[in-house]
Assembly symmetry: C2
Homo-oligomer: 166 residues x 2
């Protein structure tokens, strides 16, 4: 039975963000879940802040000038690029794994759950905080929300405090 496992095509969603914990979760998943001979596909999901946060308040007026909006959008885009580049670098060490990326605007809780459901993934992997420090402050625990709401298995990985190198 176990030999069949390697042949199974699984879709594993890994939630990535700016934090060290999500990088650790990704590495842990690659070391412990993904098999060299498997046909697993890793779907790296990054949730960009909802546009509404820095966009129009209503249809008539702008909260920020278009310049500020454009630079905020650019910054958010660069952060997303940076996060995904880092994640790809981590995946590179583990060859023979198919990697896809998804960047969506929105609350990470919704983004992760929606993508997981849409792609019918076999597993969702995330750091215990689920999302970066700043977002966590007003979002609460993303991992708790996902563990409660997702139908598929959820792996919550905590970065060890004592050992930064691993």
């Amino acid at each position: 039975m176990a030999s069949e496992v390697a042949e199974k095509e699984r879709k594993i969603l890994v939630a990535v963000d700016e934090g060290e914990e999500s990088s650790y979760a990704l590495s842990w998943c690659l070391s412990n879940i993904v098999n060299e001979n498997s046909k697993d596909t890793l779907v790296l999901v990054y949730a960009r802040p909802p546009r509404a946060v820095y966009s129009t308040l209503d249809g008539s007026g702008y909260l920020f000038s278009s310049d500020i909006l454009a630079s905020m959008e650019k910054y958010s885009h660069e952060v997303a690029e940076c996060v995904l580049e880092k994640a790809h670098r981590i995946c590179k060490d583990f060859n023979a794994i198919k990697v896809e990326t998804k960047v969506e605007h929105g609350d990470p809780r919704d983004v992760i759950c929606q993508v997981a459901e849409k792609l019918n993934v076999d597993l969702v992997v995330m750091g215990s905080h689920g999302y970066g420090l700043i977002k966590r402050a007003f979002l609460g625990s993303v991992s708790h929300h996902c563990a409660q709401n997702l139908k598929c298995p959820v792996l919550i990985v905590k970065k060890p405090k004592s050992n930064d190198g691993n």
Copy 2:
């Protein structure tokens, strides 16, 4: 790097109880995490109800007669045996895996966290409810507690409602 994975000796704690969900979590773990060539050890952990629940109220008097206590103890022991026997049967389908069992009296939240810490396990696997229907009612979510308090990665597996056979 991935080829090294199979050689790594990992200790994986799987929380088992009377519920179908814990059986499903165990099967999922065996199919998706454990590698045929790995030297993984599975530690099946079952938490028996704390003795205090049906034992003395204080040092001086008994709440139940010794007959009732003995039969309750016997029943609790038989349930534990039954749960572990079922878990072992599931593991049997996946040969070449080392299986250990731990039965401890206590709140499953404490039992799981204590055993995980004591044995320094690499991963804890559990159903999303973590423990049986009756206990869940007054214990709250065991999986949530464990995800918050454990230092190691926690895999929470939900049994699909639509597909009992898988």
